[in-house]
Subunit: 690 residues, 2 copies
Amino acid sequence: MRFGLCVRSALLAGLGACVIGAPAAADEGMWLFNGLPREALQSRYGFEPSAEWLERVQKSALQFDGASGSFVSRSGLVLTNHHVGSDQIHKLSTPERDLMRDGFVARSLAEEIPCADLVLRSLTRIEDVTADVKRAAEGLSGEEASAARRAAVSRIESAAREAGSQDASVVTLYHGARHHLYHYRRYTDVRLVFAPHSQVAFWGGDHANFGYPRFNLDMCLFRVYENGKPLEPEHHLRWSESGAADGDLILVAGHPWRTQRLLTVDHVRFVRDVDLPLSLFEAWRRESIWQQYVNRGSEERRIGMEALGGVQNRRKARAGVLAGLLDPSVMDALRTAEHRVRATATVVEDAADPWRQIGEACDRYRAFHARHVATGGNRPFRSALASIALDLVRLAEELPKPSGERLVEYRDTALDGLYVGLYSPAPIYPPFEIESIAAGLSYLAELFGAEDPLVTALLDGRSPRARAEQLVGVTKLADVAERRRLAEGGRAAIEASEDPLLRFVRAWDAEERRLRARFDREVGSVLDAAYARIAAARFELDGDRVYPDATGTLRFSFGPVRGYEESGRDVPPFTTYGGLYEQQALRAGDPAFALPAVWSERRDKLNPRTPLNFVCTADIIGGNSGSPALNRAGEVVGVVFDGNIQSLIWDMRYTDQQARAVCVDSRGIVEALRVIYDAPALVDELRGSR
Amino acid sequence: MRFGLCVRSALLAGLGACVIGAPAAADEGMWLFNGLPREALQSRYGFEPSAEWLERVQKSALQFDGASGSFVSRSGLVLTNHHVGSDQIHKLSTPERDLMRDGFVARSLAEEIPCADLVLRSLTRIEDVTADVKRAAEGLSGEEASAARRAAVSRIESAAREAGSQDASVVTLYHGARHHLYHYRRYTDVRLVFAPHSQVAFWGGDHANFGYPRFNLDMCLFRVYENGKPLEPEHHLRWSESGAADGDLILVAGHPWRTQRLLTVDHVRFVRDVDLPLSLFEAWRRESIWQQYVNRGSEERRIGMEALGGVQNRRKARAGVLAGLLDPSVMDALRTAEHRVRATATVVEDAADPWRQIGEACDRYRAFHARHVATGGNRPFRSALASIALDLVRLAEELPKPSGERLVEYRDTALDGLYVGLYSPAPIYPPFEIESIAAGLSYLAELFGAEDPLVTALLDGRSPRARAEQLVGVTKLADVAERRRLAEGGRAAIEASEDPLLRFVRAWDAEERRLRARFDREVGSVLDAAYARIAAARFELDGDRVYPDATGTLRFSFGPVRGYEESGRDVPPFTTYGGLYEQQALRAGDPAFALPAVWSERRDKLNPRTPLNFVCTADIIGGNSGSPALNRAGEVVGVVFDGNIQSLIWDMRYTDQQARAVCVDSRGIVEALRVIYDAPALVDELRGSR
């Protein structure tokens, strides 16, 4: 369950660099829809997507809560992963109706449950605005050039919205070499249609996560409505009857969040020795604290499991990348690739060698990296209330400024989404909030010492737990009306409020702004300029045989269904329901591998040969969770939900010897809907999509 | 399950300071058997132990694997905690016979199972050798004085052994103000007699740990043999028929490991801001790694649960101390206590203020603390094979030196115990060893960077996992005969060996020696001298109303059975079997709170009113686990097994508002032996001890 969850933390990562991709080898590549590797697809697979094929896939693909999904029926049915939808499924659950534990099937449209705060987007059009953005910064350099580009981007986005675009944002690609304006259609009335038991969606729990063979029904269904009726989308994907076979080409459309495929070696060393260890420390610590929380009882388990699963996922992903970077052969390959560009690039003649500049910027960053990362965004507290308070304080500060001068999270293009979260009626659990804030306060004290000025300001003379109890006990921010009053009242309302949580986040906000500015000045701007020069060198060398590093926007990747060898034995590409029950017998007594009663009762009705999961070599990463896996005809043969453990290093380097994307098979989905969940109408709707 | 487990890690802690206790308040104090607070016992409780009482208790008490136990029958039966005995119970288990999971009852002497590597000791005599040790260092100072004292201690110990003492060691008390020679009797043939199911011994698992009310049958029984027959010990403790009642005075004889009750405020700040955070980081990290290991399957669970339980226990204990130190009222109290001594002490007139010297030494320590702690002892790897390799390499280096000049772990008095471990036939599990060493190598890389000279030397060009697989795959140290050959062959054999694990630990040994020497020179010796001067100031102020900080040797503590108030409700002092089943019903479905089948089947036969656990105010700490809890008559009314969460700060400061020691009730033990475990002979033997 790698992708959706990964993204929420990647959003907050301290490393701002975004660099261009390597020349694509094998099936490597997260390609732009307006920049497909047509030659490679044709020569390697004899596949040439038509304009109609591409348009249907592009417009059926959905951005879903930092990850991916797609329209799979003419009545607005949306397919994604259970672990991508689980944030909503969790919010819709109550002590009496635990949709995570028990699953959910809407037997009619009336039973479909509206989500509190879910916004989906489909990409309708791409415009190249590179010339406009570049023109704005002509003749300028450094901070001035950056500011001019930001202002231009903001102008372009505003103009697009005024011209009728529902949602438009400029995506910076190839580290500034290209700027594309993406026009989106937004969907805000989204309802839950089907979720399997979480025990089956995430069967095997943390142990099986990132493993293979897998046996996970990691999927769920939502439906988009418009004007109170199911949406009839312009395009949707058709369901494959026959599924995929070993060796078949799989095509994937999804939203990979962030790759770091061409960091310089010095930058990778920084990630390996400084950034990943801190990030892992925070994850291990949170994992223990939330594991203890869910152990307290069944209601705590219901409330906390989503957060625990998220942090376990993050821990495993980061540990996998670190393990890769501690493998000397990986570092050697990165060094070789760097030498290749460096040897031919004219930029190295410069006095200011960009590779050296990046190394020096990383060295400077060491001095304040932990502080920058630990105070970044909501990271220290992971608390809904603290996040709300921070948004209120910052909105009051930022909204009076022109959009292009605001912190990036508060620019006009971000506000619609931000208000959805801010005014969400999703439940807030005070005991969990107390635990989260107390853990965050102790974390800061552990990192910086109890007498650090920020720590003492936040603690305000109390212990971490006593402070958290006071803040959560007194604040009124659990009340949506109060949030709305404060947001609408602006700075005056914030300053007049005696809510202790607002005062609390102001101390933190000031520190975070200071560190963010220092990062931009001492590190970020240097990395931007240096990577832009390296990008230029790579264009010189490789022309357009490169794809941009992932940016959380729609990408196209591909690769055949293919097993692999591990520890001397063959790992076949497909698993089946028969295998699920065999594994269950082997792990009898382990609660992570238990099955819900109905899955045992109806075992004999399931065809044991029905495929459940399969692997392929398509290049995917965090954010691709929920991406439709398509055949050449553009039909859904599965949904991407994970990578195996060997793929974790794909963040930094693609290999296909053992690394694989893992998908739920479309045939396994239909079989479960039919036999286990008594949902023939949904099966008909999916099949009717043909 | 605080105490026994705590000790194994406390042994390795980086802080060498050992300071004198505060003037005793309420029931505070871990008193020497030759320095009881007779006046307080008399005036507060009207209790005056006779010489016979004291001798019987002292000689019945046992040092048990870093924790405590006692003789409880005339045939050498030994009572301790299950979590203290579990290291042995775990070693005696196999995939076919899991004594941890299933428990064990020997139905006859013939069925009692000999332990592989367990040595118990009872304290037979104490001699004051202060004058001898002081004389040796007369006229010397600094390093010279330390060396002279070490040599004197070694001479005294050797002389005692030559004069027929089985085991004798000098204990340094009051930070060098007193030196006592402790004579021990050793018992090396120890057999397992009874263990309950671990599920009942540690019922509620990590969540219930350090909680109260508790419902844990955390006890087990061993028997000491001599010449193939049950030992008839000179003294043993009698079993109480009636148990204790609310308000009854409880007397405890055990081996508290280490308190830091009178660290200076600057030193406590160092512990809070530097030492505890690192220690917690290591614990959180290990907890996650071992949790993942036990999740792999039932055999991995059997192998890894003991280690996982240990690290969870350590994590919770350290987090509890840190939470206490982040409470401003605790720091205020420490500051007030320090001011009191400082205001009256003449030493503050000195140019070299010892409080300031300690603060400065802590500041110096910051520069290499992480490295010193992370390389100390077996800490980074927690691997049996790496520990064996280190002992072999160091024995070859140390044995040729005079005992007084060796590293402290290799002095003559330590060797008997060391060889028991080194030649132990206890099973070694290669997959677990690989996991442990790989995790340790990655830990060092995370702390110091992958290109650190120590890290690169240890990795030798491989990834952590590949290196661990190579070391464990090739080494022959799992074979006891090979260990013996290398140990007996001395330096020549070690140098001639091509065992990669020996080469591996040599790089590590060199670094650890370098850091240990630096610590002694820059920090330890300064702390020693400064704390000695503070100790003198305290003697001046408080005379003999002080007890020395715990040193892992036999101590006497006391306090009544007493409940407490928590979050506005009364926590009664006793729990019962009835309460156990009530709790189980409340936590139905949570595997940590499940009961073995026989406990459900025989529920109706157990008297629900039989007490199971109780709390008292006796001052105990890690190492007190397994201590007998006695009534005024010196009869066993229970066995100490834990402190509640509020007592975790007792490491640094005793309070009795809520903090309590937790004991298994003697009546609960007898009831379980009788009803659940069909062990009437053991019941008769315990009762016959009257």
